[in-house]
């Protein structure tokens, strides 16, 4: 039996380890599911997780190590665009394919690397979608845009702001903050400027705390965010009572909506003793794309273990159905061709589908 | 030959003028006037002493001269050049070196290295010289090492050359401090209680050393001491401070017999004849 490995690169220790572990676990779940199929095809499937500590240099070093391990045929990762960019560049010469479950920054695929793909929406498609929602559904005339000063949050918020301005919405404030706990000055500013909507590009455990303090100050303005908010923890952090009027866009269907998603959530909980969140689902999907791609490539290779190049080409060309986030196929630079963005609304802590929008990358 | 580069003053005869002129120097710490308008002129190539009861302001006086404290008022001139406002290292460069009441040697350095630091300010080599190892660098290093050798010989500590300075016996540490200070080629050296912690025998050796500093190196010496035997036999001129104020000054026998000094400082044991015995024989 030939051993085939796939690798993950994500932060497994440090402050973002919860998200990174979600990705790793999601991938693990997919690997567990596919192990039997691989076995049948004569392969011994394994997952090797790498910790990038959310640090670009560490991530690059991991990528180069992965490149040196010939049994690894594909990589799922990373969490941070800042790591994905140099890591994918380091993988590119060895034709090692990378499928990102989380990186939304435009630059990730704009460089046109053959090996870099992602199943999430780009900032410049998710951003305008969020902006559209703010103008069309929320009918906001004045918006306050916040970000977390990371590549993701700032990139996304930047796109939102651009789209909002284009639609004639007044931006009553636009700023970033690395603060994780105390938002009193921002809350005061919001109270002062009275926007109709707030957009916050960032991750749930920062935004959740912010919303809690916002609601605590008696401000009920709607808050909109991106897929970084897709977590069952969000309403817990905000507190059931205040978790109203919160919206986020994500590519993964609400876990309750899809039967597949339900089983995924259940087996995730069972295997890892922790509830699945957005990034777990994305990781799971990205892994399924990867694994299916490898299987396809092997089939095309006459049942023998495929080469990395074959895997890379197959994945870029393939179409993958039945994922938690629907159907995935990639355009020429590795962006997901068409995706449905679901807008989820929190009401009294309960997540429910508000609307769904279809988004496309700029190139096709 | 090198000796003269270390101490050019040795060759020159005493000029007879004042090398250090301190005028109306005052230091206040909050409400406390530690030094109160003290004036003192130190003749070139002399050995003078500052004495006075504990807390009289002697060390503070030294600290002002060496730039460690900024005076509240007053002026300090070395060979006519105003020193007030200079940093300690500038004062040293101008030509005043000192030792400390509580020994302050560089604890991770050998005796030799301690002295080489003392020589530092006289070396010509620069950062770039050090990196490129230019001729000037080698000359400087040689000079520093020579200075260390000469000074160690001078104070008789050659056997401790490579010993960590703070492992030396107490008395030798004091001498090492003197050697380090001399390596800066001072015109004037200030010694703060050089004989503290020495027994009478060792104090005798020290006395000889201080004389040689003046006679052989041509360095003017100003010292603070409580050992009256040393002070009275060594100094050519004595200034007495009490509560920051100069209460007396003059030649040793004058000071010794000054009732104010006896009252404030020498105490009941100060039988007038006692300390002077050796002075006559010198």
């Amino acid at each position: 039996q030939t051993t085939i490995k796939i690798a993950t690169i994500s932060p497994l220790s440090g402050g973002q380890s919860n998200l990174g572990t979600q990705i790793r676990n999601g991938v693990q779940l997919a690997v567990n599911e596919y192990a039997a199929q691989f076995k049948k095809a004569g392969f011994n499937l394994q997952l090797v997780p790498y910790d990038d500590q959310a640090d670009p240099a560490t991530g690059t070093a991991a990528a180069r190590k992965i490149a040196a391990d010939n049994q690894i045929l594909a990589v799922v990762g990373t969490l941070n665009s800042g790591v994905a960019i140099p890591a994918s560049a380091a993988l590119a010469p060895s034709n090692l394919v990378m499928v990102s479950p989380a990186n939304t920054a435009n630059q990730v695929t704009d460089r046109g690397l053959a090996n870099m793909n992602r199943i999430v929406a780009r900032d410049d498609s998710q951003g305008p979608a969020g902006a559209n929602f703010i103008t069309d559904t929320l009918k906001a005339k004045k918006a306050y845009v916040l970000n977390d000063k990371t590549a993701y949050g700032e990139g996304l918020a930047g796109e939102v702001e651009k789209a909002l301005k284009a639609k004639g919405v007044t931006i009553s404030g636009s700023e970033g903050t690395e603060e994780k706990s105390d938002f009193s000055s921002i809350v005061a500013k919001i109270k002062l400027t009275k926007p109709d909507a707030i957009y916050f590009g960032g991750i749930y455990n920062q935004i959740g705390v912010f919303i809690k303090q916002l609601r605590g100050a008696g401000i009920n303005t709607p808050v909109v965010g991106g897929d970084g908010l897709d977590s069952s923890e969000l309403p817990v952090i905000i507190g059931k009572a205040g978790a109203n009027n919160v919206y986020y866009t994500t590519v993964a269907a609400p876990l309750e909506a899809l039967p597949a998603a339900k089983t995924f959530a259940a087996s995730f909980q069972k295997t890892f003793n922790t509830p699945a969140q957005g990034f777990g689902a994305f990781g799971y999907d990205a892994a399924k794309v990867t694994l299916q791609g490898i299987l396809d490539a092997a089939r095309a290779n006459g049942g023998k273990a495929p080469s990395r190049k074959q895997v890379l080409d197959t994945i870029r060309k393939g179409t993958y159905k039945g994922l938690l986030s629907g159907e995935v196929s990639f355009n020429s630079v590795g962006d997901r061709k068409a995706a449905t963005l679901y807008v989820i609304k929190l009401t009294a802590g309960k997540a429910a589908l508000e609307t769904s929008l279809s988004v496309k990358p700029p190139k096709n | 030959m090198i000796k003269t580069t270390v101490h050019p003053g040795a060759a020159a005869p005493a000029s007879g003028g004042s090398i250090l002129e301190v005028d109306a120097l005052t230091k206040e710490f909050g409400g406390l006037t530690a030094v109160n308008s003290v004036t003192m002129h130190v003749p070139d190539r002399s050995i003078v002493s500052v004495i006075g009861p504990n807390g009289a302001g002697k060390t503070t006086f030294f600290n002002m001269i060496t730039g460690i404290y900024a005076p509240t008022r007053g002026s300090i001139r070395l060979a006519g050049r105003e020193l007030v406002g200079m940093r300690p290292d500038q004062v040293t460069e101008a030509g005043i070196a000192r030792t400390f009441q509580n020994i302050r040697l560089f604890s991770s350095m050998t005796s030799e290295e301690n002295i080489m630091v003392g020589r530092n300010s006289r070396l010509k080599s620069t950062f770039v010289d050090a990196v490129l190892r230019t001729r000037r660098f080698h000359e400087s290093e040689h000079e520093a090492r020579e200075a260390a050798r000469i000074m160690l010989d001078f104070v008789g500590l050659s056997k401790w050359r490579n010993e960590i300075a703070t492992n030396l016996p107490y008395g030798d540490q004091r001498k090492l401090e003197i050697a380090r200070a001399l390596a800066t080629t001072p015109k004037l050296i200030l010694l703060d209680e050089p004989a503290a912690g020495m027994n009478p025998r060792e104090t005798e050796d020290l006395k000889a050393l201080i004389r040689r500093v003046r006679d052989e190196l041509g360095v003017t010496v100003c010292l603070i001491e409580h050992d009256m035997r040393l002070v009275m036999t060594l100094s050519e001129y004595i200034t007495v401070l009490d509560y920051g104020t100069k209460i007396s000054e003059g030649l040793p026998h004058q000071v010794r017999n000054d009732p104010a000094v006896m009252e404030a400082y020498l105490g009941r044991g100060a039988a007038a004849g006692e300390y002077g015995k050796e002075e006559a024989s010198q």
Partner: protein, 260 residues
């Protein structure tokens, strides 16, 4: 000889020699102490009887300070026995020996620079809990050294060298020790205060029967007030005997007293 005689006339007279026949209060037997690899004490034997003033003299680096440190527990002897009040205290840390009625004025004064003069004294009385007694002793210290009272609230670190020395001594006296270890108490003091210090030592010894182990460079004075004396040289005990005999010894006079 002339210096000695003048000093002797000015030095206070010691109390009559105490009984030295019973068991000593403090007994060092064949003590070896090290600073890492430096062999500082090479088999020291020394006794002090209750009520005695014992002087310890020797040149620079002879090991006087090390001896006191070993006794007070600042350092542990590597071998040898050390008994105090009949108890073996070798290796007992300083804070425990201090609670057994010792007090040590260390070399270099070691004033708490950031505490005021009064606080320094109060810390010196740490083992006393009675507030009134502490206050009494503080006033006693002020009486010995009026300068300290003047500077009651000055930070210890800003005091002049001699003032710090006074403070160190006053601090050690706070507990009214049974055994007082003095390391060069007269260092840095003006002549007036040197005499005062010796007066105090004798007074304590006479009035409180305090045992004193005295290290002094001012050997003339030390030998004048001591009952017995030891002479140390490079970590070894060279001589021991009655102080007056030591003071007369030719070699001692030459080596330590500055006689030519």
């Amino acid at each position: 000889m002339s210096h000695l005689s003048t000093h002797l006339t000015t030095a206070p007279t010691p109390a009559a020699a105490p009984d030295t026949t019973g068991t000593p209060m403090l007994a060092l037997t064949d003590i070896h102490s090290y600073y890492d690899h430096i062999h500082a004490l090479k088999g020291i034997t020394l006794n002090a009887y209750e009520g005695e003033i014992v002087a310890l003299i020797g040149g620079n680096g002879a090991g006087k300070t090390t001896t006191l440190r070993t006794v007070s527990g600042m350092m542990k002897p590597r071998t040898g026995t050390l008994s105090y009040l009949g108890e073996n205290i070798a290796g007992k840390p300083a804070h425990q020996t201090m609670q057994m009625g010792m007090s040590h004025v260390p070399e270099g004064r070691r004033i708490f620079a950031q505490l005021t003069v009064r606080e320094n004294l109060e810390v010196g009385a740490y083992t006393i809990t009675d507030k009134r007694l502490i206050e009494e002793r503080v006033q006693e210290g002020f009486a010995y050294f009026p300068r300290l009272k003047e500077r009651e609230n000055q930070l210890g670190g800003t005091m002049s060298g001699g003032e710090q020395q006074m403070l160190a001594i006053a601090r050690a006296l706070m507990v009214n020790p049974r055994l007082l270890l003095l390391d060069e108490p007269s260092m840095g003091l003006s002549p007036l205060f040197v005499e005062a210090i010796f007066d105090i030592i004798v007074k304590l010894n006479k009035e409180h029967n305090t045992t004193v182990l005295l290290v002094e460079q001012n050997a003339n004075m030390a030998l004048a007030i001591a009952h017995r004396a030891y002479v140390l040289q490079t970590g070894e005990m060279k001589l021991s005997g009655k102080a007056s005999d030591i003071a007369k010894d030719e070699s001692v006079r030459k080596a330590y007293l500055g006689d030519e």
